[in-house]
Symmetry: C2
Subunit: 317 residues, 2 copies
């Protein structure tokens, strides 16, 4: 048995190996998962969680790395969670496991972690928030959650952040691709990266048009800014940080921050509850109860709704 | 209130409007859904359910229509369920709502229905089997379930059939696309449609190679046949029906038919149970119980696992 309180204390002192070990515990559904979560709960809620998403090739990792640099200049402790739902690999080294993050690999105030889906229903909704909580408890001021790839899962993860950055790059027919992927609606801050390339202004204009940013809004509404960057040269990155600061201030004033965190917590609770119940169905399957119900349904002796009622009753009594 | 037993009796006489009305009831989650399912249960289990899937453009609708013609020549009553998970439209007319099905629109022994996802978790897993059950109870000998488009949902629906046909067409780089979509593994019968075009033999060979059909198999194993068709000219369609007959006979002999139907029933029960529980969480949300839990989690007073336990307990007591 791992001494969870001692491990959490070490993580709070900022020891990378303790942080890594805790993330592995919450990611791997360890028997001590519940103990870890209960110990972490009162230590969390301080970090500012920023999601980054966008199509492949827009420069998400480079942008994340540039944001880490910017926040480190402010003396902040930074956590990075790179989530790849399509990757069959899970876990990974805490430090220096991503090439573009190498420059931060030796910085003791930066925690970097790659994470893959556990490949079952609610897998990401389930494990990403827990890893965020570990980084939060470890004293990170800012946690950058970068999603690799595009898809419904990425959208969901990015939408779980306090603030979501949607990244685009010029000349990729990117606006349309982003619209298709459903990521255009979720941005609080839009970044046109690789802005030294041809077409950056056109992309920004197109985006402005697609988002209807020219239209009148009510006072108090958030108007998502479009920031142009060349992340590889650190150009425009301070402007992104400034936009994030403004969004954070706006959310705090409007009560939006509390609202988003509440929604996030509700979704997480629901995901855990559904996964738990599904696992109970699974063990019932082992117990042949679901099989027996299925046989009755297949023979027409029972309808599938009545069988579902029976299944629910059996896992919950 | 609808007189469900009377409606079911009319459907069993083969009245199209009664069948359409019953499908609408099971699709729309009517308050009488449970009554309908309970009434249908003892009347089902007779129909042979065939799934058709494949990339866009391979000729799924034309092939479905040709199969309807072939089965009608045998005097069989045929049901067609065209499922489009990406379509925002649900329902649709029972008869003649699809252009390629026009030739069967006035045939009283053919029931055709389009169906879209209800857009929530388990939406299709939930409503497609119920519509199949209505068609089954209405005396259909064969039910063809055609999935429009490619994706995980289509694969799941097609895999719910007794027999799954995977359609391909020459010269579309189709083998690779099909492999990507994960539909290559699920076929019991493979059809290379548009076989009068260049490359049909190459596609069949490529498929043969990808499926490892040249390799030795155990006696008693099913060896999926590859049939070439020109569905628009009704060429090769009788061979497809022959392949389906053989697969049905093989499944019956090997106990595979019962096994598949059992698995299908188990998946359906599980999907209904999870959706039911999710809906209960939803009404709790209205009752502010989930909100209250989320607030505690957001404030760090409770961890998300303990909150999930509480949520499960509250919906099940």
């Amino acid at each position: 048995m791992i001494d969870v309180p001692a491990l959490v204390a070490q993580a709070r002192e900022g020891r990378p190996r303790a942080v890594a070990r805790l993330i592995s515990l919450v990611e791997g559904a360890s028997p001590q998962l519940r103990e870890v979560m209960a110990t972490l709960a009162p230590l969390t809620g301080r970090a500012y969680v920023v999601g980054l998403t966008g199509s492949p090739g827009v420069g998400k990792s480079t942008s994340t790395s540039a944001l880490v640099t910017a926040y480190r200049r402010q003396g902040k402790r930074v956590g990075v969670l790179a989530v790849d739902p399509s990757s069959p690999f899970s876990g990974g080294a805490l430090l220096g496991d991503r090439v573009r993050m190498q420059e931060h690999a030796t910085d003791p105030e930066v925690f970097i972690r790659s994470m893959a889906t556990r490949g079952h229903l609610g897998g990401l909704a389930w494990s990403a928030p827990q890893a965020i909580r570990v980084l939060d408890a470890a004293g990170c001021d800012v946690i950058l959650v970068e999603t690799v790839g595009v898809g419904q899962s990425e959208v969901e993860i990015a939408a779980q952040a306090d603030t979501t950055i949607v990244l685009l790059a010029p000349g990729m027919g990117d606006g349309i691709q982003a619209a298709k992927a459903g990521i255009l609606e979720i941005g609080d801050v839009y970044v046109v990266n690789k802005a030294d390339r041809d077409g950056a202004d056109a992309t920004a204009r197109e985006l402005n048009h697609m988002l209807g940013l020219g239209e009148a809004r009510s006072a108090g509404d958030w108007r998502p800014p479009i920031v142009k960057t060349v992340a590889a040269k650190h150009e425009g990155v301070d402007e992104v940080v400034e936009a994030l600061d403004k969004h954070y201030a706006w959310m705090s004033e409007q009560g939006e921050l509390a609202k988003r965190r509440l929604r996030r917590a509700a979704q997480e609770i629901e995901a855990i509850a559904l996964t738990t119940l599904r696992e109970r169905f699974g063990s019932l399957h082992g117990d042949r109860h679901l099989d027996a119900l299925a046989e009755k349904v297949a023979r027409g002796e029972l309808d599938s709704y009545a069988a579902a009622d029976d299944l629910i009753a059996s896992v919950t009594n």
